[in-house]
């Protein structure tokens, strides 16, 4: 085994894209310039939640200082400003997803709530014996809501097999997709493995069987822009906080006919057209699914996050992320006993791993001592942990603001930890 040697590798300067100035980008994220346990922070837990640029912090601050009131209510100036900022953010999300209409963009608290709204809304279409296909690599948020609906309706939740490399087993999918399949609920990108699933193909096949398709985009949107019309999915969901926006808000995109047919999720203000004690009628889309006062400042913050991302050079952004993953992959062999879990050919920059003889929690604790923040544990994907026969993994998940030097620091720290246990 060789020591980490940066001289063996192309240096940061020659790899990085000159257009994509990571140092300038890092200055936009104030949280990154601090020390943890006396060491400069290396934040590699972006898969759990990513950090927020000044553009987002400023937009939310400005909203509260200048524009806040309730939305869609009062005939007054602040109410109009708040409504216009809020609905402007919805339009920004529509454009981000390339949805046809803002009627199809529904605010939720996050991906989890979005999937619960869908599962609940589709329950009426399910009966005993119907099948809901998920994959073995789903986050619990894309398993449990379906299990709850299955319990109520007598439908069954069936997992599509995942290969050792961490890819959807297409033979398994083809054999499971059949007469009884009603719904395909699958992640665009695995939170544990980083695998980018071939959702276009899965959706095309599912739709040819009249199967409703639900895509969990939580881990995809921080790395690339989905196009819901090109994907031709029925539903697409994501969370703001992983997309460099605030916590507490997320998005449910849906095909309009399906959304129209679905019952509301919660009752209350905003979601109604007219209320009498005899009969209450629902508001139009998207408000039918937005009971109560929404997370207005958070919507504004998410809009600002997307505007900020749009201001970056996408090609440079994607090349920078690719370089991070490549560098990490090349350094794996410098840590004795290190093994990567998830070696799909198409991956976002996520590195789940184990080190022989070490528990993931040991790795996480000792990396934190060195200022390096990663995630350890089962990643809310216990069925996948069982499939790989591990209690959990350590996961370094990168964002475009991470540097090649930080990748080197991670591996130098892992070498140190490995020596501590020998």
């Amino acid at each position: 085994m060789t020591e980490l040697s940066v001289t063996n590798l192309a240096t940061a300067k020659t790899i990085s894209n000159p257009v994509f100035d990571v140092d300038a980008i890092r200055r936009e994220f104030p949280i990154l310039s601090q020390t943890i346990n006396g060491k400069p922070l290396v934040y590699l837990d972006n898969g759990a939640s990513s950090q927020k640029p000044l553009a987002v912090l400023d937009a939310m601050d400005r909203y509260y200082r200048e524009s806040h009131s309730n939305v869609h209510r009062g005939a007054h100036t602040l109410g109009d400003r708040a409504t216009s900022a809020f609905e402007g953010a919805r339009e920004t999300v529509r454009a981000f997803l390339n949805a046809k209409s803002t009627r199809q963009v529904i605010w939720t608290r996050g991906t989890t709530e979005a999937i619960n709204v869908i599962a609940n809304g589709l329950a009426g279409k399910l009966k005993a014996g119907d099948e809901i296909l998920v994959s073995h690599m789903e986050h619990h948020a894309n398993i449990v809501p379906w299990q709850m609906v299955a319990e109520r309706t007598g439908a069954k939740v069936i997992p599509i097999h995942v290969t050792t490399a961490g890819e959807i087993d297409m033979e398994s999918f083809d054999s499971l997709l059949g007469e009884r399949t009603r719904i395909l609920a699958i992640t665009h990108v695995s939170n544990v493995l980083g695998t980018v699933n071939p959702v276009e193909e899965l959706i095309r096949k599912a739709r040819s069987h009249n199967v409703i398709t639900v895509i969990d985009g939580a881990q995809a949107v921080p790395h690339f822009k989905p196009d819901v019309q090109a994907l031709d999915c029925d539903f697409y969901t994501f969370s703001s906080h992983k997309l460099f926006g605030p916590t507490g808000i997320g998005v449910l995109y849906g095909r309009e006919e399906l959304l129209e047919a679905m019952p509301p999720y919660q009752g209350g203000g905003e979601m109604i057209e007219r209320v009498t004690f005899e009969r209450t009628t629902w508001n139009i889309l998207p408000y039918k699914f937005e009971a109560g006062t929404p997370a207005i400042a958070e919507a504004v913050g998410l809009g600002a996050a997307i505007d900020y991302l749009d201001s970056l050079d996408r090609t440079g952004f994607e090349a920078a992320e690719k370089a991070l993953l490549e560098r990490a992959n090349r350094l794996v062999e410098t840590v004795p006993g290190m093994e990567v879990i998830g070696t799909a050919s198409n991956k976002v920059p996520v590195l789940s791993f184990k080190i022989a003889g070490l528990h993931p929690s040991d790795i996480g604790t000792l990396l934190d001592q060195q200022g390096i923040e990663i995630r350890t544990g089962n990643h809310c994907a216990m069925p996948l942990m069982d499939l790989y026969g591990v209690p959990g993994t350590a996961r370094a998940s990168f964002a475009f603001y991470n540097t090649l030097e930080e990748v080197d620091q991670l591996f130098a720290a892992l070498q140190k930890i490995q020596r501590l246990f020998v």
């Binding site: 346990n37 070490l358 528990h359 040991d362 000792l366 001592q369 544990g377 209690p391 501590l420």
Partner: protein, 159 residues
């Protein structure tokens, strides 16, 4: 089956190794690497944990790693002896420190030990992230529950 009385009472942690030993050792170690190397070494002193004691009842919930804990109340001395096991090395080390602090005491003595004050003296929370993941509090909580139960039941646990 299960652990024998001998396995419990011969545990060096909390008998021959005392909390004062650990405090004075850790005081000398400034560097995180040395402190953790010491904690990992302490973990290696945990006596072996019988496989058939790895039961649901003995499982400690609230830890990121798997932790088991069993106890024995010595009828002659009235002292409570503890065995802990974990699949994570640092958790084993933390368990060893807990044992040094709480093992080999009567349930009443154990309940009157101010464990937070001890952790403060050890400066543990400055150097060890107090996340729910490491399960330090979960282990202490379970031990205190066991001690409380022993003081109310009056009957020594049979093994």
């Amino acid at each position: 089956m299960g652990a024998t009385a001998e396995q419990f009472v011969t545990n060096p942690l909390g008998t021959t190794t005392t909390i004062d030993d650990v405090i004075s050792d850790l005081e000398f170690l400034d560097d995180w690497e040395d402190r953790y190397a010491y904690i990992i070494d302490l973990g290696k002193q945990l006596p072996s944990f019988p496989d058939d004691e790895r039961t649901d009842e003995n499982f400690v919930h609230g830890c990121q790693s798997q932790v088991w804990l069993t106890h024995y109340l010595d009828p002659a001395s009235g002292r409570m002896y503890l065995l802990i096991d974990s699949d994570a090395m640092i958790v084993r080390g933390l368990a060893a420190i807990i044992l040094v602090a709480l093992n080999n005491q009567t349930p009443r003595e154990l309940l009157s030990t101010d464990i937070d004050e001890l952790f403060e003296r050890l400066d543990l929370f400055r150097h060890i992230s107090p996340t729910r993941g490491n399960g330090l509090r979960a282990m202490v909580g379970k031990i205190r529950d066991l001690a409380a139960r022993e003081t109310t039941s009056g009957e020594p646990k049979k093994i």
